[in-house]
């Protein structure tokens, strides 16, 4: 998994509660990403980061915020969880070189919002 860990790996929470997922990398990669994976939709980008304190929105960013205060950690926060945010969340990293970018994924976090 290219030195990428995600925590927690599984979480059950209730509607309306805030939830924070953590992605940690050990190899100093510049780019980090958060995706969600849902049946019938594949992987969709939520937010990404291109450096410490540098983040940008992806395709499905509503209801999510991110922070990156250190190179190695990228946090995804669901400000007020809804049932539609039940999903599997994947973190990924990359180090683009010459326009060729390969992403490396973490093991995923299964989130259930009741």
């Amino acid at each position: 998994d290219a030195g990428i860990t995600q925590s927690p790996r599984h979480k059950v929470t209730e509607t309306g509660t805030p939830v924070t997922l953590r992605c940690h990398q050990t190899e100093n990669h510049r780019y980090m990403y958060w995706y969600r994976q849902d049946p019938g939709h594949g992987l969709r980008l939520i937010h990404y980061s291109y450096g410490v304190k540098d983040t940008d929105k992806g395709e499905v960013s509503d209801g999510y915020s991110v922070s990156r205060s250190k190179t190695e950690d990228f946090l995804l926060t669901l400000e007020s969880a809804t049932s539609s945010q039940t999903s599997v969340y994947f973190c990924a990293i990359s180090e683009p070189q010459g326009g060729q970018e390969t992403q490396y994924f973490g093991p995923g976090t299964r989130l259930l919002v009741l």
Partner: protein, 112 residues
């Protein structure tokens, strides 16, 4: 929005047979990649093909790219039960975007 669309969405074959998966995309690209996802795991990069390449090989994998048709195919030869997984194509943007857009995926089942 999804850039790539894999076809077929599911394929079931016998061990030893070849498996072909197709991907179509909509906009110009710098490169196209294929990823594999085993059940319950993260995606794993398989192969990248640049827009100026037509064919690329890696072990039992063969990827072709036709930019005029905006399509790619992934061929797995002599399939094994361990190839059972979901396969995704992913494309970047013409400007060399650091963001990838993934297709919805295709489920391959290789029966022993």
């Amino acid at each position: 929005s999804q850039q790539g669309e894999e076809d077929p969405q599911a394929l079931s074959i016998q061990e030893g047979e070849n498996a072909t998966m197709n991907c179509s995309y909509k906009t110009s690209i710098n490169n196209l990649q294929w990823y594999r996802q085993n059940s319950g795991r993260g995606l794993v990069h398989l192969i990248l093909i640049r827009s100026n390449e037509r064919e690329k090989h890696s072990g039992r994998l063969r990827v072709t790219l036709d930019t005029s048709k905006k399509s790619s195919s992934l061929l797995i030869t002599a399939s094994r039960a361990a190839d059972t997984a979901s396969y995704f194509c992913a494309t970047d943007g013409e400007g060399g975007s650091e963001k990838l857009v993934f297709g919805k995926g295709m489920k391959l089942t290789v029966n022993p």
